[in-house]
């Protein structure tokens, strides 16, 4: 049977792939999708701990983090659209107005 460590390891691997994506990709939308995947990995570990401790509060926290992720996705995509309108690109290496 599958115990908690396997779920946690899967969560860690998915989180690391998300980190890798955020660091390598330059497309803003793909970076954003990688962030969503990292949020998902953390949700998985929350559910795992919830099942481990037989406590329902972890599931509630996942519900709230899902709501925040939805709000974040809406705002982030709106920002990406605004950036695209002004610069005609979502390549983050070319959006360097505030870069030092």
């Amino acid at each position: 049977m599958i115990s908690a460590e396997w779920y946690l390891a899967l969560s860690a691997i998915l989180f690391t792939i998300g980190v890798l994506g955020v660091l390598t990709r330059k497309n803003a939308i793909v970076m954003f999708m990688c962030i969503e995947m990292m949020l998902n990995a953390v949700n998985l570990s929350l559910v795992t701990f919830s099942g481990w401790h037989n406590d329902i509060n972890g599931l509630i926290l996942v519900f709230f983090s899902l709501c925040v992720a939805a709000a974040e996705a809406v705002i982030g995509l709106a920002i990406i659209i605004a950036i695209f309108r002004n610069n005609l690109t979502v390549d983050l290496s070319r959006i360097n107005l505030l870069r030092w």
Partner: protein, 171 residues
């Protein structure tokens, strides 16, 4: 025994879809691979008997949020990235090392749990049902639940304001 096979099936599917998402040149394909990743995570939630979260995962994440992503990708009519990776090899090496460090750190902290778990299979049982979650959500967590409504409304209004405003920046 079946759950073990199913877990590894879903886990390998999730990891493969995640890697395919990161290393795909086309943005639309990346979004569709992310949908596959989210669906396999929903399957893993089902293995943990968290039915409510599995349904929410499919409805909200794989449904609503990813449709939003696809809409924006279609709207912007993105061309493919010219170079998937930076031409600077040094930066790639640093990125891979950094990711490996993150993974090693996480795995090390997970390995610390190994002695503490009596290798019970993770199963939420009664806790994962809609009744149990709704019971707690509408009593103990009623106020945060209502605040979530305000948060989502603010997000929608903010998105409208941000996406509609025309800022004329000279390039």
């Amino acid at each position: 025994m079946l759950t073990t096979y199913l877990f590894f099936f879903f886990a390998i599917l999730a990891i493969a879809a995640a890697l395919a998402m990161v290393f795909n040149k086309h943005t639309v394909n990346s979004a569709l691979f992310l949908v596959l990743n989210l669906l396999s995570l929903a399957g893993i939630y089902l293995l943990m008997e968290a039915q409510f979260l599995a349904v929410i995962q499919v409805l909200v994440y794989a449904g609503a949020i990813m449709v939003l992503f696809l809409f924006v990708i279609m709207l912007l009519n993105l061309d493919n990235e010219a170079k998937l990776f930076n031409s600077v090899a040094m930066k790639e090496i640093v990125v891979v090392l950094l990711s490996a460090a993150v993974l090693a750190q996480l795995m090390y902290s997970i390995r610390g749990w190994f002695g503490m778990v009596d290798s019970n299979p993770i199963a939420l049982g009664e806790l994962g049902t809609v009744e149990a979650v709704g019971d707690v959500l509408y009593t103990t967590y009623l106020l945060p639940f209502e605040v979530t409504a305000i948060l989502l409304t603010a997000a929608v209004v903010g998105a409208l304001v941000i996406a509609q405003r025309k800022i004329h920046l000279e390039k």
